[in-house]
Amino acid sequence: MRALLFQDPIRTAVVVQLVGLCLLTGAFFGISAFGIGMWMLGIGLLLVGVVLYLSAVLSDLRRRQAI
């Protein structure tokens, strides 16, 4: 996992985002504290995924001295 995170942070962001999106569906199938807990966790993972993706893109642009 650690190797994946450093070798391909965008793919890690995609995986995190996919898990987060799946967890979001917890809010759609019957209303329950468990489903809402999944939904909250999903939102957290989506934020992590976005931060990972943006930091990966920014560091790539910086490495290529585009910014």
Binding site: V14, L24, A33, I36, G42, L46, V57
Partner: protein, 229 residues
């Protein structure tokens, strides 16, 4: 000067009507589900199938769409859907600490205000939400915010015993429905206590009984009735 009619008129005008048919929450839920499905399929295809065939700029734009734009729609849609379903009694009862309140409301033998309202069929659906939502511009938003806070505390296990009702219960919540009834308007004690009722100096339940069973009737702290916590 009798201010009861003015008080009643202001509350009745502010009383929301129950939504019928399609709701904003339902529409947002559909948008959210579509966004989730599109994002999942798109991300899998772009990252794991098409990545080598795409130009870097195209890949980056698609990633931006799949990782940022569609998830934003998914979050907004799922939040709207959650807020819509948050009104239901099932939503309140999904936390075990509320079981005693919901069970009491469904108990035909109970004398609590909640049970009497339920038994009479006065509030056909979303009974918890109907009484615990203050009237006014932000009443509904405040009720949903509180519901979300309660769920967060429950899901993270950060709630503490004993559960207590924080804040106050404005008489306007009761009067919002009862003001329409001639029995309420013509009751001499209501007319005599207009100022006190309007200013919440006397609570409706001080004469009409507790809305829910007291802590003693519930058997002490709720934690003692739960398994595994």
């Amino acid at each position: 000067m009798n201010t009861l009619p003015i008080f009643l008129a202001s509350v009745v005008q502010a009383a929301p009507s129950a939504p019928s048919g399609a709701t904003v929450g339902g529409a947002l839920g559909t948008v959210g589900l579509l966004a989730i499905a599109t994002a999942i399929v798109g991300l899998v295809l772009v990252e794991f199938v098409w990545k080598s065939r795409l130009a870097v700029s195209t890949y980056r734009w698609l990633m931006l769409l799949g990782l940022l734009v569609l998830p934003a729609f998914a979050v907004v849609g799922s939040t709207g859907n959650t807020f819509e379903h948050m009104k239901s009694v099932e939503a309140c009862g999904s936390c075990h600490v509320m079981n005693q309140f919901v069970d009491d409301m469904h108990d035909p033998g109970s004398a609590s205000l909640a049970a009497r309202h339920f038994a009479s069929g006065a509030i056909p659906k979303d009974q918890c939400y109907a009484c615990h939502t203050s009237y006014g511009l932000f009443g509904s938003a405040a009720a949903k915010r509180d519901g979300m806070r309660h769920w967060t505390l429950y899901a993270t296990g950060m709630w503490k015993e004993p559960i207590v009702f924080s804040g106050s219960y404005p008489n306007a919540n009761c009067v919002g429905c009862h003001a329409k009834q001639p029995e309420f308007r013509n009751e001499p004690s209501h007319q005599a206590l207009t100022v006190e009722l309007t200013n919440d100096r006397i609570a409706c339940h001080s004469c009409h009984g507790l809305p829910h069973p007291s802590r003693t009737e519930r058997g002490g702290d709720l934690i003692s009735t739960m398994n595994g916590r």
